[in-house]
Structures are given as structure tokens and as C-alpha cells.
Symmetry: C2
Subunit: 336 residues, 2 copies
């Protein structure tokens, strides 16, 4: 417990023989201070081990360098990849990150939003476009830039970077049909807004081809796991044994379906086509490799932070709406 008094601006100032404000300026906008004084100040800062006080700075300037990030899950691979992009994008910037875990609850999200706003966040990253009414209002009148990530299907509050989950679901379903599968099923867990959009795309596309049957839909609000994928696939086969392909909500589900099919000696892709979503790293090396929709999660995080920081700096990006796209990766699990 070092009880030494904290080193402050004026300590540095005294040491150098200038006033505190000059030190403050030297640190924030060096070009406004003469070279000689500046050098001396830097030396003294180094010497004394001065570290600016975040609280005092925030109080005095009514601004912070904290960017708030709201995501629905810290364990879901999808969001940890986005997070990684965000961390990468924030490196070598003066900004710190404060993470809020909404656990897929719009109420938690609203609460966390209030906390962040009350802490005068410099900017906000929020997931999706399905906030509560109050939350949307808070965001709309937020005194800082806001980037929504993950999806472009809805109208953003400020800026957005994502892709169309509807189009992605459509592409996956069309692929299954193109590969000759006649009885495609949908397996989904969690059923968050983006999953629901993918499901709607599946239903619409299958209907258009006369291949939709509500019996071939297995969903649950429970979070996705590999185990759950296997179970839902079992349920599905019980009600619709003629199923010949599955569009899975995500890759965990897809992997569970694959393992369960192998256990039941159902041959992939001959008797069963499998398509996942997100293209986690392991999809390419599974046996057989699994078709999936690649979503640029890392890039999404990185772009979002880049846009946000630009906007915080006062130069909002020309295009506040970025569709970062997706990519269908055709693999052996659907006969490619």
C-alpha cells in the first residue's frame, strides 16, 4: 500500500516552473506549447511518473475516453470474434472499452444504456436494431455517436455496420434446393431477432419452391449448443422422418446434427445435407467439412470502432450504413 500522495499536474508544473495548465496543454495538444517547455514537461512527467487522473479529467471536461459496447453474450463465438475486432480497432487510440453484457435481454440492455450514458461515454456500440422503445429513444438523443452492429435489415439510429440476415438465410436455403434436396428443415435455437430473420428467409424461400413444411421446423428459445443440435435433430426426425436437409441456425447446431447423424448412420451428404451459419473455423476441417455462411465478424467489430472513432473525432463517415456482406461456403456436407 504505497501511501505516497498522488502525483498531480501541479507537481509536474512546480518541477518545471510553469503553471498546471501549461502541463495540461503540453500533454493534450503539444503543438500549442513551445518546444523547450514541452521537452522539459515530458521529462518531468517521466521522472515523476505522473499519470493523468481519469475521473478528474472526465469531471472537468464532461467528456471521457470510454467507449461503451453492448453485446448479448460474452461466450458466444460470434460475439467474441466481433469483440476481438473491436479490441484490434481500438489499439493505439486513446480510448478505453467498457463492456456491457445484455444477456439477450432488452431490459438489461436499456439499463446498461442508462449507465453508459450517465458515465458520459464517448461513443456507443450496440448490437442489433431491436432495442426497447425507451432504449431507442435514449440512443436517438444520445450526446455521442452510436454504431449498431450485426445487421442491416432495419433502420439504424445513427450508424450501422452489418449484413442482411434475411439475404443470408435466403442464399443458404436456395443452395440446399439447388443441390437437389426436396425436404429441407430448419433447426434454430435462441431465436433472437437475427435468427428469426434467417428463419423467415428460409420459410419464404422454401415456400416459393413448394418445399416448406411446418413439421420440418424445430426451434427452441434455449441457447445454442452442440448437444442441443443433436437433440433437435432427433426431434425433427421423429416428426418428419423424410427430412433430407437441414439449415441450421448456427454452426454449433450444425455440428450437433452431424454427430447425431453419424451416430444414426445417416450418410452425409447423400441422405442428409447440412448447412450451418457463421462458418466457425472448425467447419472447414470437420469430417465431412460442413457448408456454412461466413459472416465477417472480426471485420465488423473493426469497422464499427473505426467509424465510431471517426465520428467522435467530429468527422462522421460519408456512408453511415455499411453492408459488410456474407459468403456461402459450399462444402461436402451439401454435396459440394
Amino acid at each position: 500500500m504505497s501511501d505516497y500522495r498522488k502525483i498531480t499536474l501541479s507537481d509536474v508544473a512546480t518541477r518545471v516552473g510553469v503553471s498546471a495548465i501549461t502541463v495540461s496543454r503540453a500533454l493534450r495538444s503539444p503543438e500549442k506549447v513551445s518546444v523547450v517547455v514541452r521537452e522539459k514537461i515530458f521529462a518531468a512527467v517521466e521522472d515523476l511518473g505522473y499519470v493523468p487522473d481519469a475521473a478528474a479529467r472526465a469531471l472537468a471536461s464532461s467528456r471521457t475516453n470510454v467507449i461503451g459496447v453492448l453485446i448479448p453474450s460474452v461466450t458466444n463465438n460470434v460475439f467474441s470474434d466481433v469483440l476481438k475486432g473491436i479490441y484490434t480497432g481500438i489499439e493505439n487510440t486513446p480510448f478505453d472499452l467498457q463492456l456491457g453484457n445484455t444477456r439477450y435481454s432488452v431490459l438489461s440492455e436499456e439499463q446498461l444504456l442508462r449507465v453508459f450514458l450517465s458515465q458520459r461515454s464517448a461513443g456507443l456500440v450496440v448490437t442489433g436494431t431491436d432495442q426497447s422503445g425507451a432504449a431507442r429513444a435514449l440512443l436517438a438523443s444520445a450526446p455521442c455517436p452510436v454504431v449498431q452492429i450485426m445487421e442491416t435489415d432495419n433502420e439504424p439510429v445513427d450508424m450501422v455496420v452489418g449484413f442482411s440476415h434475411y439475404q443470408a438465410g435466403q442464399a443458404a436455403t436456395e443452395h440446399l434446393l439447388a443441390q437437389g434436396y426436396k425436404k429441407p428443415a430448419f433447426i434454430g435455437a435462441r431465436m433472437d431477432p437475427r435468427t428469426q430473420r434467417r428463419f423467415r428467409a428460409f420459410a419464404d424461400t422454401a415456400k416459393k419452391a413448394g418445399a416448406f413444411d411446418p413439421a420440418r421446423v424445430a426451434t427452441t428459445p434455449a441457447p445454442s449448443t452442440v448437444t442441443l443440435g443433436g437433440q433437435l435433430f432427433g426431434d425433427l426426425l421423429a416428426t418428419a422422418p423424410d427430412t433430407d436437409a437441414v439449415f441450421c441456425n448456427n454452426d454449433d447446431i450444425a455440428l450437433g446434427v452431424m454427430f447425431e447423424a453419424q451416430r444414426r448412420r445417416i450418410s452425409i451428404p447423400e441422405s442428409l445435407g447440412i448447412c450451418g451459419f457463421n462458418d466457425l473455423e472448425m467447419m472447414a476441417v470437420a469430417e465431412p467439412p460442413i457448408t456454412s455462411v461466413r459472416t465477417p465478424r472480426f471485420e465488423m467489430g473493426q469497422r464499427a470502432i473505426a467509424m465510431l472513432i471517426e465520428a467522435i473525432g467530429g468527422t462522421p463517415p460519408a456512408r453511415p450504413l455499411v453492408d459488410i456482406g456474407f459468403q456461402l461456403l459450399r462444402r461436402r456436407s451439401t454435396g459440394c
Copy 2:
């Protein structure tokens, strides 16, 4: 942009007809304020939508309610599970979390530590016991409680909750030998301090049984992926084709080994035993199910935060060193 002036303590005070400090007290220690006044204050707070200013509070009290958490990766499943435990443990407490991503770099860790300390964190959670010298010094003299997590193999700075990676590695290796495998190999990626401890246990245990051969070790500093597991297994077979079992650094590697073995038509567990580490959810439902060492990651996070909060509250736990154990789960991949 709501340009309404911020609601402050004195706004509430004026409204109620008391002084600001009374409002402050009513909010922090209600029992010190008369019931009538207290009620009026609560009503006014609600009415006006008063939200305490974090910066002002920190500045005035030289204390914060921010707990700093330093982890080496945000994408690694292991740490996201720990994180989930931490978030759960912090729910319904007045504390906020600030995450620091060290990316397995002791230098980044040291830097982040300085940032957290300069922001007067209320407490710190750091990963492992292998900090830089400077970082250890900083931690030792930190003006707040510190919990180290993940491992109990070394001497902690303050508190620790984890398990012995050496013992876990030993248990896994002994299991492979007990199952009759004679030529066990080790495959490891990242090779962080904890992985190294597990490897040492493997080497020691295999040696003791006369079953150690340095040719049956494949490691890389690259991060673990399923793909990498397959590749390293390929490398291993090239140099030591007689390998009959693999102790994998972690479950991603184990899964990669399994897929690669299936691709090469090597029968599991007859010709090859596979043991993973961490027991990710999918291990139990893989085909075949994969033996692994379960590590209580969620609980670790939860316990760590609980201990920390107790300590912040002034009552450090009686036992500052918690060994949370591990559990070997024997499955078909090793003939169980």
C-alpha cells in the same frame, strides 16, 4: 442531443429542501437519514431522474466501483466461460467491470495494469501467476485487493482461485497409460505458462513409466485451432508413426486430431486414444465422445469475484487460496 443541464445532487436537494450532502447520504447510507426526509429524497430522485455522476464520485472519494479484469484472450472459450462467471458474480452488486485484453503478452498486461491502477480500480482480477517483474511489484503494492485466477501452481500475490495444471496433466497422462496405451504423444499450441505446466506433467509422468519419447511431442506457439490440431497430428505421425495416444493441450486440438484420424481411417480408440483438456460442451456429444479434463471455469470466475468483493468490503476471505479442482471425464475416445 438533449442539451438539458444534467440533474445534480443539489437539484434534488433544492427540490426537497435539504442540503446536497443529505441527499448524498440518503443515497449511500439511508440509515443515517431520517425516514421522512429519506422518502422525500427518494421520490425526488425518481421524479427528476437523478443519476449519480461516476467521475465526480471517484474524484471526491478517491474510490471507484470499477473492477478491472485482465485476461489473455476474449475469443478463447476458456476465458469467455470464466468471464461469464465473473459477470454472474457481479450481478446485483454496485460494481462495474472493466476488461483488459492482454493478448498473452506480459508487456500489454503490465501496461493495462498501470491504466487500471491509475483509474483507482476497486479491485483486480488477473490471469495466472506469470506476470512481469514490474507487474508483480505493482500488484504487490496495489491499493486494492487482487485475485489471481486459473492456477494454483505458484505463489499468489494476494488471493488466488484455480487448480493445479500439473496435477491435471498428470491425471490425464496416467489415464492414457492405465488404458494400455504405450506410446503417448503430446500436442500443444500457444504454449502459455499453464500449457507448459501440463506438458511438464505429461513428460514427467510418461518418463516415470518409461513411455516418454521427445519425438512424440508436437508444439507450436501459434494459437489453438481445430485446423491446427489436425496439422500437428499429421506432423506427429510423420515423425512418430507408432504413436498410439495423444494428450491434447485443449479440446480444439483434440477435435482436430479426431477429424484428421477419421480422415485417415485410424480407428478411435483402438488404434488411437485421444484426451483433450477443458471439456468443452461438445466433447460429450462428439462421435466418438472425447475424454477430457473438466475445468470449472464458470465457477472460477464466480468465486474470484465473490472473494474480491468480500475483500473490497473489508472482510478478506479466511482462505485466500482456493483450489477449485478438476475432473477427468473418461469417454470412448480412450476406450471407456
